[in-house]
């Protein structure tokens, strides 16, 4: 059974969704255990797959048994690059499933919960499928599954702006997916093949590599994937979609959907066209890195201007996408390693921030930043996890965010792309300002701003949060957040730290997968030594 792992990790959530549809379209209580069971099975499968990849190299799996002439059947491929991303998708899926224990939104009528869980599980199937597949057209089908479920999840909320955001999301998403489909069509028209490895070998032929169609195909796929990952000029749909969607949905969409699209871009660049072909002319990587610099700066500065917490975090996602695209296009070893590592680190920290933001919005009254007073006292655990996520976004060791900047800046220095390095540093500073502004509001609370000469005598010792309930009237319900909401948040914060502390082994796995590729293969020759 162990060589069937790639199929198991996809089939489990698929059957979970179908079981919910058949067994209990009505009540949520029966649906939740099915969700947990199916996601833990696929998590176990991904972890087993990871150990297999680490011990015995890439795993290939041919659907329907069509292996002998390559390209007939559909091939799934797991190597150093996507093994870890699979584990993260399954893990984050499980954590957010626990977080949305009572359906999409705490306030929502819970009888929509089973439908929410069906869409949720099928989104996990889509994301896992995109990451694992080795067939160019199959990526389109699974991108569509992931997109349709995301449109459904965004639109099923109660807020009117959510449905409007879903409409824009559909329009932009369809344009993106169709561009990708057209790109694969052009590839098929010129090479006659759909399997990534086969296309790669055909593009290696000189007359195919030089053809204009392949160039147009690459541009189409690139633009399509950029729309899907909300890369700077094409990010219009993301902020509203992730701000006004139900809280459970934003917990799964924000950390994963854009990161998986970045993975698709990297997979297409490395496994379909090949690093040699993509970085053949330095002009491209220069222009894309410049675009990434603009994305990073724009994302960070627009986030600075935001008033709503979740919208601010959404613009930070646009900036983080700029990190990854810029890193991947530095055309050197450490840039690519940094980009792939950042997919993991960014997924973890975005999950941590969005779960915390959902709890704040629910329990601290409204999404606006200036209404988050006294959080450190009222919800110390939730605020603590939010701080860990924020430190990772700022890039403070030992969190994951620091080490992705650590590799990206090294890639930037070695590639001589100083504007990229400057943009990374500047956006870290802007993040610092952003988050310390929130800490200040959360730390200070609305105390009378008296001088500190003559202190009014306070009750000695630490006033417990209950006593402090009088901190300004909070419109949100004052109940403490549920354990099923706080536990995944703490796990997410731990994940952020673990990604940082164990960045060594993670990077070794990624470097192993990049071995032997031109440009991004071995570590670049060192300056000076």
């Amino acid at each position: 059974m162990s060589e069937q792992l790639p199929a198991i990790l996809l089939v489990a959530p698929l059957f979970g969704a179908l079981l919910i549809g058949v067994a209990s379209p009505g009540d949520p209580r029966r649906a939740f255990p099915i969700v947990l069971l199916s996601l833990s099975i696929s998590l176990a499968a991904t972890v087993a797959l990871l150990t297999k990849v680490v011990s015995s190299g890439p795993v290939d799996y041919f659907l329907g048994g069509w292996a002998e002439p390559l390209g007939i059947g559909i091939q799934l491929r797991v190597d150093g690059i996507n093994a870890l991303i699979l584990v993260f998708i399954a893990l984050i899926g499980l954590l957010t499933a626990i977080f949305s224990y009572r359906g999409p939104d705490d306030g929502e009528p819970t009888d929509k919960a089973p439908l929410f869980y069906i869409l949720y599980l099928l989104l996990c199937v889509g994301l896992l499928g995109i990451t694992i597949t080795g067939d160019a057209f199959n990526v389109f089908v699974l991108v569509e599954i992931a997109s349709l479920t995301s449109y459904g999840l965004v639109a099923m909320g109660s807020s009117p702006r959510g449905t409007l955001a879903a409409f824009n999301y559909i329009i932009m998403g369809t344009i993106g997916a169709s561009f990708y489909l057209l790109g694969v069509g052009y590839l098929y028209m010129r090479t006659g093949a759909l399997n990534m490895a086969q296309i790669h070998s055909l593009i290696a032929l000189p007359e195919v590599a030089a053809s204009q169609t392949i160039l147009v195909a690459f541009l189409l796929i690139l633009v399509g994937v950029w729309i899907k990952m909300a890369f700077f000029p094409l990010y219009g749909w993301l902020p509203n979609a992730y701000t006004y969607c139900p809280s459970g949905a934003s917990g799964i969409l924000a950390p994963l959907v854009t990161k998986v699209s970045v993975y698709v871009m990297i997979r297409v660049m490395l496994s379909v066209f090949g690093a040699g072909w993509v970085f053949q002319s330095a002009g491209w990587s220069q222009t894309v890195v410049w675009l990434a610099v603009i994305a990073i700066l724009a994302g960070s500065f627009i986030a600075l201007a935001q008033v709503e917490l979740k919208k601010m975090l959404s613009y930070l996602i646009v900036a983080e996408v700029g990190y990854m695209v810029g890193g991947a296009w530095l055309a050197n070893h450490w840039g690519m390693v940094g980009a792939i590592y950042h997919i993991l680190a960014d997924a973890a920290m975005t999950l941590c921030l969005f779960l915390a933001a959902n709890i704040f919005v629910k329990h601290a009254g409204g999404g606006r930043i200036d209404r988050l007073e006294g959080l450190f006292r009222r919800m110390p655990v939730v605020a603590g996890a939010f701080v860990v996520g924020a430190l990772s976004m700022i890039g403070v060791p030992p969190t994951g965010g620091f080490f992705s900047k650590w590799y990206l800046i090294r890639g930037g220095i070695e590639a001589g792309q100083w504007p990229f390095v400057a943009a990374l540093i500047l956006s870290s500073l802007v993040n610092a300002v952003l988050f310390f502004r929130i800490f200040e509001v959360a730390h200070f609370g609305r105390k009378p701003a008296d001088g500190h000469h003559h202190h009014p005598p306070h009750a000695d010792g630490e006033p417990s949060p209950e006593q402090q309930g009088t901190i300004g009237e909070t419109t949100g319900s004052d109940r403490k957040p549920r354990l099923t909401a706080v536990a995944p948040l703490v796990a997410a914060a731990a994940l952020v730290l673990l990604v940082g502390i164990f960045s060594g082994p993670i990077v070794e796995i990624i470097r192993g997968a990049l071995q032997g590729m031109p440009h991004v293969g071995a570590a670049a020759p060192l300056i000076g030594r």
Binding site: L148, A155, P160, T163, L164, I170, A177, G367
Partner: protein, 147 residues
């Protein structure tokens, strides 16, 4: 003249699908009414289907159903024996684009269905489908803005 028959005549299908696609895209981006955007979207997707199918066309080829073998297949139960004369691929159209386009059609239908459902629920909330009116309503703090 050679410009005409080198670029235009043998490649008329590509010109056709690009023009159709651009009409659809223009409508999606520029049109104010949401439903017109959806019409543009379906034109956009149908154009891509036209492109794919036009790749698989072979001059004078039949539909990819191996019909004239049906009688022998029924009684000659020799699984391993190669049929007396090999199938000539040029007689049959390329099946692969048709398979891929079945998926694209299904995706098109699903997206359109979901988009219509969403526009219905937008109409329920904002009771208008004109984008500028909706944005105006949001600007004056329409229903449930600060969720």
């Amino acid at each position: 003249m050679d410009l005409l028959n080198q670029y235009l005549i043998p490649h008329f299908n590509y010109w056709a699908y690009v023009i159709l696609m651009m009409i659809g895209m223009h409508a999606m981006i520029v049109k104010n009414n949401l439903i017109k955007k959806l019409i543009g979207m379906s034109i956009f997707q149908t154009a891509i289907i036209l492109f794919y199918v036009s790749i698989g066309v072979k001059e004078g080829a039949d539909i990819p159903v191996l019909h004239h073998h049906a009688p022998e297949v029924a009684e000659s139960h020799t699984p391993a024996a190669d049929p007396h004369h090999a199938v000539d691929p040029d007689h049959y159209a390329n099946p692969l684009p048709h398979v891929l386009m079945l998926t694209a059609i299904v995706v098109g239908v699903s997206t359109l269905g979901m988009a219509l459902a969403i526009s219905q629920s937008i109409y329920k909330d904002f009771d208008t489908l004109e984008e500028n009116e909706i944005l105006a309503k949001i600007k004056q703090g329409g229903p449930g803005i600060d969720v």
